[in-house]
Amino acid sequence: MIETSLRWIVLTPLLGAAINGILNRRLPKQASGLLGCATIAVSFLLSVRAVIMLAGMPAGERLLTDTLTTWFSFGPLHVDIGFMVDPLSAVMILVVTGVGLLIHIYSLGYMAHDKGFQRFFTYLNLFIFAMLTLVLGENLPMLFVGWEGVGLCSYLLISFWFKDDVNADAGRKAFITNRVGDFGALLAFFVIGTTLLPFLHEGEGLFSFAVMQHHAHHLTGVATLAALLLFLGVTGKSAQIPLYIWLPDAMAGPTPVSALIHAATMVTAGVYLMARMSFLFVLSPAAMGVVAAVGAATAIFAATIALAQTDIKKVLAYSTVSQLGYMVLACGVGAFAAGIFHVMTHAFFKALLFLGAGSVIHAMSDEQDMRVMGGLRKKMPLTWATMAIGTVAIAGVPPLAGFVSKDEILYETFLGAHGGFPWLWLVGFVAAGLTAFYMMRLLVLTFLGKNRASQEVQSHIHESPATMTMPLVILAVLSVIGGFIGFPKAFGGGAWLQEWLAPVFAGGHGAAGAHGGGHHNTSLEFTLAAVSTLVALTGLGLGYFVYTKRPQLAESARGWVGGLPHRLFAHKYYIDELYGKVIYRPLQKFADIVCFRWIDRGLIDGLMVSGSAVLALFGGSVLRLFQNGMVRFYAWIFVLGVAVFTVYLTFLG
C-alpha cells in the first residue's frame, strides 16, 4: 500500500540538519536545539502513525511503500529512491526515532555549554536521516546510502572535538575500519547482483528487497560467499571480531553520541542488514555457523576486556560490543526475531547506561576514570536509580527487558533447528555472567562507597538538569517493561513481537521463537531461563560483594595466574598493537616505498614528466642534424629519395 508520508519520516531530519548546518551560529542555541528535537519528534510521530497503519493491515500483507523517483535505470538494473515499512523496519524506526528523540532532548542539557552546539545538532539530525534511509530503504543501494551515511556521521560526531588529535584519530579509525567492512558488503552486492541478473522478469528492479527475496532460490550456489562478504560489512558496522577496534576508541566523542550511535542505532545496522537479507543467510548453513561463532566469541571476548577497564565509557563500550555479539549470535542460529528483539531492548538499557554515564561525567567535571569516583548515590539519586535499573536490565534479571531478549537468544542457541549449538550456548551463558559482574562493578565503583576525587571536583557534584534526567527516567521505564512485548508464550506472555516479525522471516527457522516455529520444549525453556537468571543474580551478587566488602580481593585478583589474564584484559589483548604491526606498518611501508617513491616519484615524475621532456629534447637534437645548412647533405638526401623512389617504381609501380 502506498503511503506518501513515509518520505517525511526520513526527510524531516534532513531538513533540520540543513537549516542548522547553514545557519549554524546565527541561530541561537535555544532555537537550534528546539529545531533539532522537533524534527525528530515529527519523525517519531509519523513512524508511530505508520506502525499503527501497518497493524491495521492483515498479517501477511503488512507493507507500506513510498517511491519518490527513479534513481538510475539501465535495463534490469533499475533502482528507485523508495522507502518501505514492513514489520521489521517498523520496529527499527520506532527505536531509532524514539530513542533518538530522547537523546536529542538529553543533548540540550549535556551540550548546553559547548561552542559547537548548533553543529552538534546538525550532525545528530543528519545521522538520524541516514539511519532512517538505511532502515526504510526499499532496495540495497538505498540501504547502502544510509549505511555509508551513518558511517560518515559517526566520523563527524566522534571527532566532534577535533581540535584534540586523539579525537580526530578516533574518528578516522572508525571510518576507515568501517570502510574495510564496506568493501566486503559491496562485493557481496555485486555477487548477488550478477547472480540474479539473468533471472529477472521485465520491470523488476535488481536490488529491490522484494524482488531479491522472490528470486532467492537462485542464490543457493553463491549464498555462502555472498553471506560471508555481507558479514564482513556487518563486523565493521556492528563491531564484531575482527573489526570492532574502532568502537572503544569512539568513546572520544561526546556521550550522547556514544549513546545514540554506538549503543542504540548505528551499530545495530549490521544486525538489521542480516535480518533484512535473512533469505540469503538461511541458504547457507556454513555462513550462519561462522556468524554464530563470531558473535559468541565476540560476546565473551569483549566481556573479559570490560572486566579490567577503568574508564566508565570504555566499560560500556566493550559491553556494547559484547551485547552486539549476542545479536549476531541470534542471527547466526536463525533466530532473527530474537536478534531484533535484543536490538530493541539493548537500545533501551544501553542508551540509558550511556546517558547516565554522561550525567556522571558531567557531574564529576569531565572525569571518566571510575577509580576516582564513588558515593555518587547521595548527590545524584535519580541518576543512581536509573543506572541501577539499567544494570539489572543488562544483567538479564527477569522480568526486565534484558532478560527476555537475551534469554530468548540463549534458548534458540541451545535448541536451534539443527539440534542447537550447546557450546555456543555455554559461551553466551558465561558471557552473561561476566556481564552481570562487570556492570555491578561499574555501579559500585561509581555510586557506592566514598568518593575518591579531589575536594574541588567533589564540590561540583550535582544532579543533572531535567532535560538530562527525564530521558533517563523514560528509558528506565522502557527497560523495565520493554520485554513484555515479546514475552514468550511459555511464560504466559503473548510473544507479540515475534508474531509481528514472523512474516518477514518466513524462510528462517526458529524465527518465531516461542511461536511454534520449530521445536518447542517448554520445560527446557524454563530450565534455561532459570539457569540464566541464576547466573545473572550470581554475577550481580558477586560483583556487589567483591567490590563493597572485599575490595582487596579485586586488587589481588590482578595478580592471579601470574597477572597474565589481567594484563590481557586491561590491554585489550594487545589487539591494536597487533594490528599495528601486522597491518598498519606494512601498509605504510608499502605506501611509502612503492607508491610514493617508485610510482609517484620514479614513474610519474621521472619517467613520464621528465621522460617526455627528455624525449622531446632528444628528438629535437636528432632532427636538428637535418638542418645543417650543408648543401651537399641536402643533395645527398635528394639522391636517397630518388633511389627509394626508383625502387618503388620498379617493383611496385
Partner: protein, 152 residues
C-alpha cells in the same frame, strides 16, 4: 673527371666527355645536335668554366686537400648504384626492339629541326629565347664588381 684533384683537369675531362657525347649523337643519326653540342657545350660553356677557374683560385683548390672520407663515398655510391640497378632491371625487363632500319627522310637534319622549331614547337623556341635573355641580364647584374668588403 669526377675524381680529378685539379679543377682544370676536371674541366678537360668534361670537354672530352662532351666530345664523346657529340660522337654518340652522330651515331644516332642526329648530326645537327652533334654539331650544336660541340659548339655550345664544349665551345661556350666549358670556356666559361675555364675562365672562372682561372680567375678564382688557380688550378688546385686547397679546399679539396682532404680525400672524401670512405663512408661519404659509400653513402653516395650505394644509392646511386641502387638507382642504376633499378634502371637496368627495368630496361632488361622490357624487350626493346632494335633500332629501325628505315628512318624518315631528313631525320636529324637542320631542315627538319627548323620545321619543328617554327612549327609545333614555336612556343618553346620563343620561351627559351626569353630564358637566355634573362640569364644574360642576371649574369650581368651579378657580375658587376662592387667595392664590397669581404665578409667572413
Amino acid at each position: 673527371m669526377v675524381t680529378s684533384r685539379s679543377a682544370v683537369m676536371a674541366a678537360c675531362w668534361l670537354i672530352l666527355a662532351f666530345l664523346g657525347s657529340a660522337g654518340l649523337y652522330a651515331s644516332l643519326q642526329a648530326p645537327f645536335l652533334a654539331v650544336m653540342q660541340v659548339l655550345v657545350y664544349a665551345g661556350a660553356i666549358m670556356v666559361l668554366f675555364m675562365f672562372v677557374i682561372m680567375m678564382l683560385e688557380g688550378p688546385v683548390m686547397p679546399a679539396e686537400a682532404r680525400r672524401p672520407r670512405p663512408w661519404m663515398l659509400l653513402g653516395a655510391v650505394i644509392p646511386a648504384g641502387v638507382i642504376l640497378a633499378m634502371v637496368i632491371w627495368t630496361i632488361k625487363g622490357v624487350s626493346l626492339p632494335a633500332f629501325p632500319q628505315n628512318l624518315p627522310e631528313g631525320f636529324g637534319q637542320p631542315l627538319s629541326m627548323a620545321h619543328h622549331l617554327l612549327g609545333p614547337y614555336l612556343l618553346a623556341f620563343e620561351l627559351i629565347s626569353i630564358v637566355l635573355l634573362v640569364a644574360i641580364l642576371g649574369a650581368l647584374a651579378l657580375g658587376k664588381s662592387e667595392r664590397s668588403k669581404p665578409w667572413k
